[in-house]
């Protein structure tokens, strides 16, 4: 282990919601931001005067959970899904982040789950994150509340009478208090999360799936649904080990901790 003084950081790790190139500096594309082929790392390096490493936010979060999340890391495997505005993915395999051939593996939010489905910020249609993200939960719920859907009165009251003021935590709270309408919204999004995770399990066969991001803070009312949908949609269920699905332990700090750790000059062993 390398010792650092606390006077000057050896490097700065930046976790960004975009497609980060293999050089750990250039962002090719950010579906939900204006960046297109931005040399973020080089620019920040000049302005900060120290080594800057840019990492995809979900990869950083996966690494943070893997290194500091207190999970059982035997086997060096972990799939982290960060479910907030979108769905980010990060895969640790053999104790290392899987980056792909060009640096941008893990963009699982843009798996197409519905043909000709809902439009996505990336320009495509039917992306998973349009169905199983925090935004999908709040957007869908606000729409239903605004249209005066049956059973939505309690949530409307909680939001002070303004459908646009409904938030994710508010929906989670209402569900925890036993509100059936709120729970149905969570069931819908949780089912999409479980269905998508089952598709990922068909491809990647992970041992442990860690759910992070804002939506995961809903906890058990969401997780129970995710697990049920995952098991119902897993190919060859009954003839294979079923991955454990847990909530991320580091919450919003996972990305920051992961990015910082990944910016550390690597001294192997």
């Amino acid at each position: 282990m390398r010792q650092h003084t606390d006077e000057a950081p050896a490097g700065v790790g930046v976790a960004a919601a975009g497609f980060v190139a293999e050089d750990r500096s250039t962002i090719y594309f950010a579906p939900n931001l204006a960046w297109r082929s931005e040399k973020i790392g080089v620019e920040l390096n000049e302005r900060l005067g120290c080594n800057v490493v840019v990492e995809n936010d979900a990869n950083a979060a996966a690494w943070g959970e893997y290194r500091f999340g207190g999970h059982d890391n035997s086997g060096g495997e972990l799939l982290a899904l960060t479910i907030g505005t979108g769905i980010g993915g990060g895969l640790v395999h053999g104790g290392q982040l899987v980056r792909g051939g060009f640096g941008i593996a893990g963009e699982v939010g843009h798996l197409r789950v519905v043909q000709d489905g809902r439009p996505c910020g990336c320009g495509q249609k039917g992306c998973w994150e349009q169905y199983g993200s925090g935004s999908a939960l709040t957007k869908g719920t606000r729409g239903l509340v605004a249209s005066g859907a049956a059973g939505s009165a309690y949530l409307l009251e909680k939001a002070g009478g303004d459908p646009a003021a409904v938030t994710g935590p508010m929906i989670g709270e209402a569900a925890a208090e036993g509100d059936a309408f709120a729970q149905a919204r969570i069931d819908e999004v949780g089912t999409w999360i479980g269905v998508g995770a089952a598709t990922l399990a068909a491809v990647l066969d992970p041992r442990l799936i860690v759910l992070g991001g804002g939506v995961s803070e809903i906890g058990d009312p969401l997780l129970d649904v995710v697990r049920a949908a995952f098991e119902a949609n897993l190919p060859a269920a009954g003839y294979r080990p079923v991955a454990e699905i847990r909530v991320a332990t580091l919450g919003n700090r996972a990305g920051v901790l992961g990015a910082a750790d990944l910016s550390r000059p690597r001294v192997d062993d």
Binding site: V113, D205, A236
Partner: protein, 300 residues
Amino acid sequence: MTDLTVGVDIGGSKIAAAVVDPAGRVLARADRTTPGRTTAPSVVEDTIVEAVTDVRAGHLVTAVGIGAAGFVDAGSTRVMFAPHLSWREEPLGERLEQRLGLPVTVDNDANAALWAEHRFGAASDADEVALITLGTGIGGALLIGGVVYRGHGGMAGEFGHTRVVPDGRPCECGRTGCWEQYCSGKALARFAREAGRDLVGPDLTAAANAGDIVAQGAFAEIGRWLGIGVANIVAGLDPAVIVVGGGVSAAGELLLNPARQALAGSLVGAEHRVIPPLRIAALGADAGMIGAADLARVGR
């Protein structure tokens, strides 16, 4: 002394065994018809033993590698589930070792084919590779960092059962909307039949090559679904090369052209990233047994 091994490819319709040298060359081969899914597991086992015994005669063989169409456990001995055969948690490796008197490794057939393409074929220049095999269904395999990626339970790469249509067509696996119901030899025959061409397999390929617009349309349709499904794999894993194998891949560009279009049209951030090339597998139907033989030699 040359280190020879036997590779066996167990598919839904055919069992193929070959003696393979370290350069991936096939020195001898034997083919058998796969017993149907209603027959007992031991019948399939008998057929494998027959084929191996037949092919190894006259060669000094050190190990046997099996590539089987099914979910194989991480320890490479047990077939947990084979959608097109009657195997359920079948200890195939152990049984075959007893009967053949040689070390036996068992892997998924697509993993074996990918390994062959990486060592001797279309992906020898890349360490990050996805293989899609289009046969009766879809097989798939992943190479990450130059090593076959098997996942926790040994079941990674089952692309055929990723869901592409919610509540879509029923699949043999018991679920609905699986990719292989839209992009496979079976789907190809169905698209052709629905359009009025009652042809299957090589006959359909020949008709399309001879200019039959209806047959070409069926290839365009599964090609489009190929591109859509590959876009999901690229979004998730960003491989450097995609290799397309299996019987249906004999159609070549008839299949790949529409697939490339659909991939470019479906891939997230397509204009801001490298779109990996789609290539037809170089080793054809032999890839599975060559790869299985090589995996038995070099280890996993």
